[in-house]
Amino acid sequence: MLLLVRAKDINITLGANKVATSKMHAGNSIRRQRVRHICVGDTMGLDALVSWFMSIASIFKKRKTVRLGLYGAPNAGKTSLANKISMDWLGEPVGKVSRVPHETRAIQQKEHVQVKANGHELDMNLLDMPGISTKVDYRDFMKYGITVEDAQKRSKEATKGIIEAIKWLENVDAALIVMDSTEDPFTQVNLTIIGNLEARNIPVILVANKIDLPKSRPAKIRDAYPQYPVVEISALKGDNMDELYQEITTRLR
């Protein structure tokens, strides 16, 4: 009997006897350092084996940390939301917030943010992504009083940040797509981000942010993306965060 179970970083190999185990050694020499071999005698009952395996598997399940990416267009409020979540559960912020677009130009991370809601608990690494856009014009930054040199530097860093955020689409376990509910939600950038995550079967929650503003129209987000859960919040004021935590702990586990 040969059973190979692959957890995230550790492979557990169950072999019926030492011969099978040594054969696996030979064929798997590259992974040898990361492989834990356990020999199980043929006399062991199947039920006992299954229950033993389940207990091992449950240990790994409990320890799982979800990499949660915050995606969206620039100025949607991703860092405000990351700060709010991190302040609520760790007591410290993630990054600086600004009205100037592309303030976040490199991924900001908070590890082991443990969110609890409705009797569920989720351990997550919070990844605040740079805003994704299809253009970065340094002249746009100068409208906020930034010098030419600083605007050009900011522009260069912003393009790198966008590339980094796109590359991470392959590495997150779940995502919050943050949208400014005062803006048109049906943009190509939103569609592209959601489409890529969907193609990888990565669970997604849409966050309709800035509901404290008079121009906010979160219903437009629900209408544009009826197949996804939408939570209406104000990251700035902390409105409806409990509902978001409930969604995160139930849908993204």
Binding site: T134, R139, I166, G195
Partner: protein, 125 residues
């Protein structure tokens, strides 16, 4: 009043279908940098759109600050498979992609069935 020359190229599916993804993206970016607006008969998939955004970001300069893009006939996986089957049967899947350099194309606005392209610098004359 300043006149503005706009070149729009309509690319049939045969122009891009024979190219590998990286070639396809390079071809599109090169044409956008020349100031052309492209209309692709075969809509880009979401994966291709992200590759295009990545490739564009690597080429951003003050003269080429980026692109505007809009796709009708969503490039979801299900739709992509559907498109492939339609093509295998000799048919043509619906939809198209419009891409333009952001210096020329201010915005591509979409609703589920329509794409509107706004060209020019946006100043009232």
């Amino acid at each position: 009043m300043i006149a503005m020359n706009i070149q729009i190229e309509f690319l049939t599916s045969s122009v891009l279908s024979q190219k590998a993804e990286s070639e396809k993206i390079s071809f599109i970016v090169a044409n956008l940098k020349k100031g052309k607006i492209l209309v692709l008969e075969d809509p880009l998939t979401h994966a291709e759109e992200t590759r295009l955004i990545e490739a564009t970001m690597k080429k951003v300069t003050s003269a080429f600050p980026g692109i505007e893009i809009g796709t009708l006939g969503d490039g979801s996986v299900a739709n992509d498979i559907r498109s492939q089957i339609i093509r295998m049967l000799g048919g043509k899947p619906g939809g198209f992609t419009v891409i333009g350099p952001s210096k020329l194309v201010r915005q591509i606005k979409r609703d589920p069935e329509t794409l509107s392209l706004f060209a020019g610098d946006g100043r009232k004359r």
